[in-house]
Symmetry: D2
Subunit: 340 residues, 4 copies
């Protein structure tokens, strides 16, 4: 069985998460996320992000989180601004458009949006023959594994404020981003600079679950109706609250992210040391080496991973590490690479 670097959702859940679920036994709880487990986990989230008045809602997955937040925040004619690499634009099967909203894309750089691009979209959309941009979507870390610095996110936040735009941050991989050497943002900074974001569980040790955080009053209003209407309100919402309780206890989620990052850095160093380039800087738990196509092909025989893009005879591949990646798998990969 070859080791799989395809993604950070290849293993079910961290043992402490499963333990927490098993520990509940037949304790009865209220349905639809109104249970004590979820209430406590929400408190822990609020404390973690230093935002005592934030609303916290648990939801099963990231695409769903993006869809519910965005569709609840916008009037029908309002649109999203996103980089062309944004998950909502590329890999969510039109989930945003399915709720009626256009995504206005810009080029971005290494998966990151830049304030001048936002301003250009706003300026271009000048009358009622076009949609009205109203929300900016960023991912932290991005689809390229890169991170926004505090200066970068602050500039975007300011640009949004100046142009009447909501700022929403897709944090499916927020823990790896916050714990990256390249990132000087705290969880609290993210809460302060955005109107809403989510803190990912699925890709960082949970079986399923993301914690949606809303700091903007307009988006807070009636949010549970939207969760219900989009099928996102689990009867046993406690199942996610319990998991987040475990992830937030004693900083578990950060420890998991730190492990994932350190495995990625070791991979990146080894790949570079072997003389290969990178599609973009390795900053979190995703590494994008550029191999000759034949090398990539041979590696596919030994490990699981996705090809990301092709350029002539070169193939950029994506290697993802997780809380569960054993160092031996990384060592093996590098050894095999050098031996090719």
């Amino acid at each position: 069985m070859k080791y799989d670097f395809s993604s950070d959702y290849c293993e079910l859940a961290h043992p402490l998460v499963l333990e927490a679920l098993s520990a509940v036994g037949n304790t009865q709880f209220e349905g639809y996320g109104l249970d004590e487990f979820s209430a406590q986990a929400a408190d822990m989230v609020r404390e973690k992000i230093s935002a005592p008045s934030a609303d916290v809602h648990f939801i099963g997955g990231g695409t769903h989180a993006n869809q519910v937040v965005i569709s609840s925040a916008l009037r029908p004619h309002e649109a999203v601004i996103a980089p062309q690499t944004g998950h909502i634009y590329v890999h969510e099967a039109g989930a945003i458009e399915a709720t009626g909203h256009k995504i206005c894309i810009v080029e971005g750089e290494n998966g990151k949006l830049r304030p001048f691009e936002i301003e250009a979209v706003v300026k271009d959309h000048c009358d009622e023959h076009m949609v009205k941009p109203r929300l900016v979507y960023v991912s932290q870390s991005t689809e390229r594994g890169t991170v926004y610095t505090k200066a970068e996110l602050s500039a975007i936040s300011e640009c949004c404020g100046a142009n009447g735009l909501y700022l929403f941050l897709d944090g499916a991989r927020l823990c790896p981003a916050i714990n990256s050497h390249a990132c000087d943002l705290s969880y609290g900074d993210v809460a302060e600079l955005t109107d809403a974001f989510y803190l990912g569980g699925t890709k960082n040790g949970a079986m399923l679950g993301e914690a949606i955080v809303i700091t903007c009053d307009e988006i807070k209003a009636d949010f549970r109706f939207h969760l219900k209407q989009r099928g996102a309100m689990l009867a046993k919402g406690a199942a996610i609250g319990i998991q987040f309780g475990a992830l937030l206890k004693d900083g578990l989620q950060d420890k998991l992210a730190i492990h994932a990052i350190s495995m990625a850095m070791k991979l990146a160093d080894g790949v570079s040391g072997a003389g290969y380039g990178m599609l973009c800087p390795a900053e979190t738990n995703m590494v994008f080496p550029v191999f000759p196509a034949k090398t990539a092909e041979k590696l596919h025989g030994l490990y699981g991973f996705h090809d990301w893009s092709k350029n002539g005879d070169m193939t950029a591949v994506r290697l993802v590490t997780s809380w569960a990646t054993p160092e031996s798998a990384v060592d093996g990969f590098l050894e095999d690479l050098r031996a090719l």
Copy 2:
């Protein structure tokens, strides 16, 4: 802590389900439901329902299942026929309408739809100034805990066939229905008589999860796109496959349903024995006693449950049992009732 008869989703999951999840360890699997656990569980479902060519998709919850199936099956102008008590009409925050489709309601009887009601809707909708009925929605068991017999469901199925209507069955509580004394339908009958249905896990021992079964080729086509677009495709789809594997092993789901039903029957017998009437026949794991308002009020001080409807000084309440309901709770309730 008072015992809660509010619903069958008050406890997290059956121990064997949690065990199965824990047993997976760090085994790697493919994402988005394409894993081996889900494939095996799907095979077990197909065998259980004697439908070898059915498509099976696992999804997190019932509202979501209803929404994805219905919205994927209909063109924009097509509508659903449902009884006015139907979950999709009353308690899903407009999830169906949110995808653009009208629900045409009829009165029904004890939560059950009757063929003549379907025909009346079809006849009324005679031109393009009205929506075009295209799918009939039934629940088995119904919101009233009642069940369709084989004759009843066959008649509806025939009526659908004759009128070019899909038949979709909401099986959030299908196991309690199938195992009811009042029900002569097999799982295979349900698969044969409908175009699509789902087999509920959440309300019968799973932490979360429903198994959508599609037998109609038109609805099968591209179904995974719809799952993804509506946010219903979990990155770790295996989490549901594993649970269904456990529920289907050695008939666990039926054993759980049988326990729930037997607790409900004991409750029903006791309530009747104490001289109270019922809103409708007790057939599955939901019982609807009708108490004087004052009696209901006193019971609220001792047990958790929902009031269902009021009629003058009388209150119909809903008592729900589950796989986890201890017989002692039932005995206690009846004792307390007699002592009032």
Copy 3:
């Protein structure tokens, strides 16, 4: 060729309306409703309804007006309250649901909604498992040709205010309503008591066109985006502005309505005089006699009209008069009826 009492849109347009269109010649104007003709007509509407700060937008038809106003006013989880006879519920092919919103229906009386029915819906919709009622839809005159009095509409308006509901009035037949003997409302009253309404042109002398009037600031915001997005912004918006200019000049629209009503009253009197009953009081330009089925059938051989409902051997039919109905057609009908 038999005379057609089917509707008030059987003739193209009043000669003065067509004259106004022809008078324009090759005068150039700005597109998309930003022309001088439309601006002047909007001023005339504002004066007519004594609402100098109202926004006025011209649109091609009534279903479209209902759809654009309602969908622009609501967030995704918000719903409409309407009588079960409401045009949006019955005869618009699901146009409201197609924009994602549920219509909560109540029984009504003679096509009219009553405040206690609104309150009952609001009270029933108590949590996020249900949609949130946000807008009340009434028609003046109603689908039954009846009218709300000032007291009735005031009570509804007050009830809406007390419950945080918008009040929207479908005025496809507002002119016949205002000019009815049964109606003590002025145009200004309608503007004052509602948040938005439309003043119908199509059914009262125009070739096409309705004037949407918005007095509520929240609904005013960005309304032209919604018009454009729903395909309702005509390149030559002037075509409607010019027609409304003609209809509002020298009270033409009221004169046309008065003629239509007087023809309907004559029909109603004659039918009653001949010994037949009515389904509901004749108050505007629609009359609903109840004939023995055989009588109705014979009349179908002589005149065009729609059957409305059946009750045993009796058939209620709908006779509609317009600005163009010649008195001779009414006399002929009554004569033929008496001769049957």
Copy 4:
């Protein structure tokens, strides 16, 4: 009053169109487009396009036509392929996305889509994490006034067929395209090569109205429901049928287009003769001269027209001619230009 070259919808309607409307008098007709005028006009369209079994539906405007056709043809997960200059992507306020569908854009050339671009989109959209391309949108003439040749449209049509894609052609300016010197397509070719298209009236002499033509059986089915649901079914549909009757009689629409083109060609020749370049070839009734910004500014003082794009100190402007453009306006413009 300065002459306006802003668009081809600056004048109300050709005198023969208005005459035809006036000639109807008080003739009664059936509502909702089921009248004899529309039936005859539909026959004339079918004859004109040599497609006796095509379905023809009249609708008020182009954005609406695009929206109704596209939303009726697609299932929720299906998407449109369009050039980035496409009207539906840029200037319809998100009308397509509002019905739930993503538009996948490609670069195009001079407003025209190329088969290899279609194939690239199809190839990229390889699984259910992405939308599924299903319909190709082209405009003839394009937003740049350019036209597809028979070879070009045939290649696109073939590419669509090979990839299971519908081909839909936006023909708001189809008459000027067909009558262009650069276009070797007949109306019949357009009908044969596409699955649906519309023949524009609004921009070629009608007050309002486009004729939707459907040759594909799947799109034909239930189309009137979609018209109704999107608010596109006029009560007095005859109003459009009558206009098309006039436009199609004795080739009026072609005569009007020929005049518009000849005025545009004269403009283009004069502009070129005066030493200015063009943004793209002048092929129909739209001309895009590139002027120094100061020249453009001075011309704005004398004539109405839109700036199209800027490049350094140069401004590309759009000059549109219509059936109503007097030769004297063209002469005046050229004279003024030369005098600057």
